[in-house]
Symmetry: C2
Subunit: 285 residues, 2 copies
């Protein structure tokens, strides 16, 4: 049984940067380092960081704590929340992914130039909640399946960085049916696009796909959904502990991929576990 | 045999306006009224205007003529040509369709704001040649089937007013694969869109479609192409003289539509001819 691991599995640029900032801050500051919400959507990483003294805290749990530094995670936060925590006197470390920051700036710019802002993304995702805060009162959040209400004649579009470009194409097709002027900032992160592409290519040539990452990670779930849509048998796991050797009976090739919030040690561990079951790595990273 | 004539068959707003301007100018000025190229793409109308003393003239045929007024047709002209003829001293009447004028202004605005301008349209159509002159040196003209070369990161789009919106959607899908910022002015004329829609609906319920208009009229040819793509038997004719009664044998319903440059008298004449063959108008305009 061959094992192929995606070259682009695991931490993207923005997550790696945020993790480095967080760990360094913990070393410097010792006690009282908090992240505003879990730094990434990966329970195993959060557990590990807790042991190193870095705790996630919700906005409404801040009051009364001794905080030396509060870290804003990659997804970013609404500008109103930023203003509120800034007023509280403790150090704020902004680890918002630079690509998300760019999307926030574009949303603001579109609003300032009188565009009705349409955000393509998941309305429940923290990144989108942050973007919305910059986009003005008539902001509209859509996904690729949304029907559109009546739009203004000037529409501006920004995109949650982890959306697939095909979703943007679908939404644009609906917008040009209505709007006279459409300004699109394609804020989809290139790393997401390449990861999706690599996973798609891999899923087309293997018997089983093992997708590694938080069950609460949107981009990991998206990878698993993509594999399933291509009719390959797909397992979305968080750790090697979930692997059942029976999955691999009669299997020739296994593909492993992982979301942007999955650390390398978990991917290596999954790879090792499958190798132990009877696989042979042939293109690992 | 029932005959249905499209409500939106014939002259659009811009063509009607240009025809009115031309005829009025001929009445006022008498001799020496010229149009820069045929005023519309309809040979029968051009012939009729010739009899009223209005002659089409090409740019390189102007020199040495006694011109009292030169009329710019609905399609518009390149800005360089405008500058050249303006320098010659005779009166210029600009009958460029206001929607085409708007597209020209947008092309200029995009160029001035450092967008690479992409024009969706037919590179050989006079409207597109006019638009190109405003769009800067890196302008790209594409149709819905074009593959795209490498684009700049800022791309601006304007559309030949008679293109179908589906073509715009296809081109946009290709552009967002490359560009980081896309500004689209949907300059498709609403009258074109509604005419295409009405023709499509009609073609789905009749046995034969008769499409009336200049064989050199792009928008009329587009209507005929649309009907053929829906597998309905389609005849593109310029006048009732081309009609063969054999076409209608065993036919229950005939649909008539016409391009934006087809005058009402030609449509009425076609309708009458079919009625004489054995049809009964049931929804004429």
């Amino acid at each position: 049984m061959e094992i192929i691991t995606a070259k682009r599995a695991g931490f993207c640029f923005g997550v790696k940067r945020a993790m480095d900032i967080t760990v360094e801050m913990a070393k410097k500051s010792g006690m009282g380092v908090y992240t505003l919400g879990p730094i990434i959507h990966n329970p195993q990483v959060i557990e590990k960081l807790e042991k190193e003294g870095i705790h996630p805290v919700q906005e409404d749990e801040i009051e009364g704590r001794e905080i030396s530094a509060l870290i804003i995670r990659t997804h970013g936060i609404p500008c109103q929340v930023y203003d509120k925590i800034s007023a509280q006197g403790f150090r704020i470390i902004d680890a918002t992914c630079p690509f998300v920051k760019k999307a926030q700036r574009y949303a603001k710019l579109l609003k300032e130039n009188n565009y009705q802002v349409v955000i393509l993304g998941d309305i429940n995702h923290p990144e989108v909640k942050g973007l919305m805060s910059y986009a003005g009162e008539d902001v509209l959040v859509v996904d690729e399946h949304s029907g559109l209400p009546a739009l203004k004649s000037k529409v501006g579009v920004v995109v949650q960085t982890t959306q697939p470009v095909e979703a943007l194409k679908k939404v644009l097709s609906k917008i040009v049916d209505q709007a006279e002027e459409v300004k699109v900032y394609n804020t989809i992160c290139n790393s997401t696009a390449l990861r999706l592409k690599e996973t798609e290519d891999m899923a087309r040539k293997v018997d089983i796909m093992v997708v590694v990452g938080g069950k609460n990670s949107a981009n990991t779930s998206q990878l698993a959904g993509l594999c399933r849509s291509l009719s390959v048998r797909t397992y979305h796991i968080e750790t090697s502990g979930e692997i059942d050797p029976a999955w691999f009976e009669g299997t020739d090739i296994v593909g492993i991929t992982a979301g942007a919030s999955t650390p390398e040690w978990i991917i290596k561990d999954v790879e090792k576990r499958i190798r132990d079951i009877g696989g042979k790595s042939c293109n690992g990273n």
